[in-house]
Amino acid sequence: MLVSILVWLPLVCSPLVYLSSKLRKGLPRNLAISVSLLTFLLSLLVIGSETHEDWIPSLGISYHLRVDGISYVMVILTTFIMLASILASSTEIKEREGEYYALLLLTETGILGVFTAVDLILFYFFWEIVLIPMFFIILIWGEERRRYAAMKFLIYTHLGSLLMIIGFFYAYWSYYDLFGKYTFNLFELWKIEDFMSQSELKLLYFLVFMGFAVKAPIVPLHTWLPDAHVEAPSPGSVILAGLLLKMGGYGLLRILPTLLPETFHEMSVLLASLGVISVFYSAMVAMVQEDLKRLIAYSSISHMGIAVTAIASETSLGTKGAIYMMFSHALINGLMFLLSGAYKRRFHTREISEIGKYEAPILSSLLVFGAFASSGLPGLSGFIAEILSFMGVFNRWETSIWFLVLSAVVTAGYMLHMVKRVVFGEKMGEVEDLSREELLPLAMLVTGILLLGLVPSLLLGPLEGV
């Protein structure tokens, strides 16, 4: 019962937040913070809870939410990142705050639902809910090319998820033909696998895979991400990078292998090679980016690529590594996006060569911290994620590991190249440093990265059963 309260709490509160903007200017922000804080605390004790009722019995659609090892970790990540981005929004968002915070809470419900849904239609229901609020967030509060980016984001991901829903229907009907019962329950539908022909299975795999491949960007399908990230307001891109990509990753990690175990095994070589390509490809492209946010966007594609490869290895180490990578990547890229937002507020541009002209000690030291965290420096969460993922991948394939390790070097290369141009070099003067208000979310993310770097059992504990 707890899990439905958790999932629907933000949605229920969002109209309140929207209406509160009429009463007093600052109210929506405080209300949103308290709601997300409440959800975060609630998410800590939601382990193991499950609700299962009928929603549309005649079609076999049930309202089935469940929190086990993996989704528990993901739920905590969601509420944590959401809290951080709401805190960070106060400095970034000045007008139409009521609508902004209401949309954020709506997104939170969608994401929480995705990580806990067991029924495929319910999963798709929450999957699609996230799209519209993010579209509006990019559209109304984004930067110059926001209209193009918002439209591209909406249509691109929508089309991907549409293919996925057709895959679910396909499985649904074959289940009905074989067993005569209507159900969308994930843990029932995999029984269809040994009755269906190879070509059908490949088609089903492809359809469902497309939905996840667009969201956890796998290279050929990633071009919506840099535009969406660059144009979204920085708290928005924190959620985009931090949580939306994880939905794709979670799908690949959880939904696809349970729905089609053997086919997933057969196709895992393809998935791994796609993952490796996206790691290396986006690392190389990130190297030449002139726009700070675009560089971080490509680096998040490359990190997610590592997670995808680790998922494809299907080893227990690999899965743990993938989840760890997703968690730490959310924190690190969240931090980097907030920093780039801070730079944007000070210099009104994202060009790396421009923002290096002035001195901001705390801001640049945090940037250095973020750069090293994302290049997997030991002692920070990125390192452990990489170690686990590499070991997991190595168990299955030796060759791909060379590319992954080389891309880790390239990551360090372009991150330091960026740091060199921003932090080092001639300074023309001072600019006012991070205010206390800006520091709070950053401090949250930094402690998260450090904590996960030094005490990995915190996150690996609940993942024992994986």
Binding site: T223, V285, L377, F394, I401, A412, G413
Partner: protein
């Protein structure tokens, strides 16, 4: 039980002083120096206690990442290293009181210095590969931060980035080796690996680990970053880039010596070491930057240590490591005080400082003599031990390279000393403050006395003879190699290594640009093309509705006709 606590405390002190000096440094005297000095002093005391009184080996274990056990381990080798690291770190901390006086951002400097000392101590004490690799990278981070201390200057930024990326390149191969080790042997524990070396050893893993050592100890081919690292403060160059960090590679091979010998990788180590020694020695002949000369000599002495390990003599390599730490630190601190006085690193603006800086010049002289391997000093005994073990190994090529390098070492070190201290005095300067000369004196004493502890086998005299010949020749024509035409340009261009590195960097960049173009035009292009083509189709179709009734009626009739046709 209290030994284990002592074991943990040694690295804990400096690691603790990192946040302290970073955040509270501003308010304390010396901008955080207090924390630096106290913490290195404390760890020196504990390591001396551990060295003399503790029953070795001591080990401490705890499960860090679920599924992997990691911890600290102390034996003779690591306790010696403990002594060296904490000792030199103390001297450098004291020295930088004077050298870094008046610089802004000192709390950051002292914080990073103690972070470095702490992670170096952890590296030396690491019991398993995870802790080793964590401290390995942390040490790399500190070297990046400290090289980049004067971040305002452009070449400093380049040097720091280059240092980190090149060492990271080596480390990534080491990471591969570690993962391969875990996957094939199931354990990362160094002690266990050494004890089961026979059945666990594999040449590939050994070479991968060695490539990590090459990256960190700046051996061929990854040596391009060390002389650029001289952009950092001299105290940093002394502590990190000569005495401790660059020795991590040698320490790694020494720590896994049984594993390396079983896997048959030692000859490779030997040849890499010898080749690096000779190449870097030649580069030093034409160098005008005093710190760069010392950097080349560090690389070549490291080559010696790898050579000693390669030929199978573990003791001589460690002894050379110990003696090198003291006389190279002495040379660097001496060079530091000269730079501090003259204000530039270029030897052409120095000269005739003998009378003005008596302590520094005598200290540098002792260092030079010990470096060239002239008796009473420790350099002679340790280098003698190395050459003796090479001779015993019977490999003539290695032996001749060794002796030739000895000659070159003597030549360029005396040349450096002459150019700085003899000749016409160009500037009126005075001796450095006592806080800088005190460490120099301490190191002079240690360089002189250390020789007694090293028992060398008393091998062939050739290295000594050639060293003396080198000294004499260098006294006479110290700039000979500058006028050697094409050879001198080759040397001054450092075998075009810098150009090679830039080339690699650029080709990565151009590949990146090509892929970015592909991304913007290619993939993004197709996406935009699809959307614009659908829009065009939409537009073409839209034009069908001209609003003219006749056309509409025609359409309806055609539709009805099509239906009729469908009936057949």
């Amino acid at each position: 039980m209290n030994l284990e606590i002592l074991l943990i405390l040694t690295p804990a002190f400096p690691l603790l002083s990192f946040p302290l000096s970073l955040f509270f440094g501003k308010r304390t005297p010396g901008q955080g120096a207090v924390f630096g000095i106290l913490s290195s002093l404390a760890s020196l005391i504990t390591s001396t206690y551990l060295f003399f009184f503790a029953g070795k080996p001591i080990s401490f274990e705890k499960e860090w990442i679920p599924g992997f056990t990691s911890g600290l381990y102390l034996d003779e080798l690591s306790s010696v290293m403990l002594m060296i690291v904490s000792g030199i770190s103390l001297l450098v901390n004291v020295y930088s009181l004077g050298y870094m006086h008046g610089e802004e951002g000192l709390p950051r400097y002292y914080g990073e210095l103690s972070l470095f000392t702490g992670s170096m101590l952890v590296l030396v004490l690491a019991k398993d590969f995870l802790i080793l690799f964590v401290s390995w990278e942390l040490v790399g981070l500190c070297s990046y931060l400290l090289i980049g201390f004067w971040y305002k200057r452009e070449e400093v930024a380049k040097a720091a980035k280059k240092a980190f990326v090149v060492t990271r390149f080596g480390d990534s191969f080491m990471l591969l080796g570690i993962i391969l080790m875990y996957v094939s042997n199931g354990t990362l524990d160094l002690v266990e690996i050494n004890s089961h070396a026979r059945e666990m050893s594999s040449l590939l893993i050994a070479l991968l680990l060695f490539s990590g050592a090459i990256g960190k100890s700046a051996q061929v081919p990854l040596l391009g970053w060390l002389w650029d690292a001289m952009e950092g403060p001299t105290t940093v160059s002394c502590l990190i880039h000569s005495a401790t960090m660059v020795k991590a590679g040698v320490y790694l091979v020494a720590r896994l010596f049984p594993y390396f010998s079983e896997s048959g990788a030692l000859p490779v180590v030997a040849y890499f070491g010898a080749f690096t020694a000779i190449v870097s020695a030649t580069m030093a002949l034409v160098e005008w930057d005093i710190k760069r000369v010392l950097a080349f000599s560090t690389i070549s002495q490291l080559g010696y240590m790898f050579l000693a390990l390669g030929v199978g003599s573990y003791e001589s390599s460690i002894s050379h490591l110990i003696s090198h730490s003291s006389f190279k630190a002495l040379l660097f601190l001496g060079a530091g005080s000269v730079i501090h006085a003259v204000g530039s690193r270029d030897m052409r603006s120095m000269g005739g400082l003998l009378k003005a800086m008596p302590i520094t010049s005598t200290g540098m002289l002792i260092g030079v003599l010990s470096l060239s391997g002239i008796p009473p000093f420790s350099g002679y005994f340790s280098k003698e031990a190395v050459m003796h073990s090479v001779m015993e190994n019977g490999n003539i090529l290695l032996y001749s390279i060794g002796t030739l390098t000895a000659f070159l070492t003597a030549f360029y070190s005396l040349r450096m000393w002459i150019l700085t201290f003899l000749g016409p005095t160009k500037k009126e300067i005075k001796e450095s403050p006592s806080v800088m000369t005190l460490p120099i004196i301490v190191l002079m004493v240690s360089t002189a006395t250390l020789g007694l502890f090293i028992h060398s086998g008393g091998g062939t005299p050739y290295p000594l003879l050639l060293a003396i010949a080198g000294l004499i020749l260098s006294y006479r024509y110290h700039n000979a190699f500058l006028r050697a035409g094409p050879l001198s340009t080759l040397l001054s261009k450092r075998y075009f290594l810098d150009e090679l590195y830039d080339l690699i960097g650029n080709c990565f960049f151009s590949a990146g640009k090509a892929l970015d173009l592909l991304d913007r035009q290619g993939i993004d292009g197709t996406v935009n093309w699809i959307s614009s083509s659908t829009l065009n189709i939409g537009d073409k179709i839209r034009r069908l509705q001209t609003g003219e009734i006749q056309l509409y009626l025609l359409l309806i009739v055609i539709g009805a006709l099509v239906l009729l046709i469908m009936t057949w």
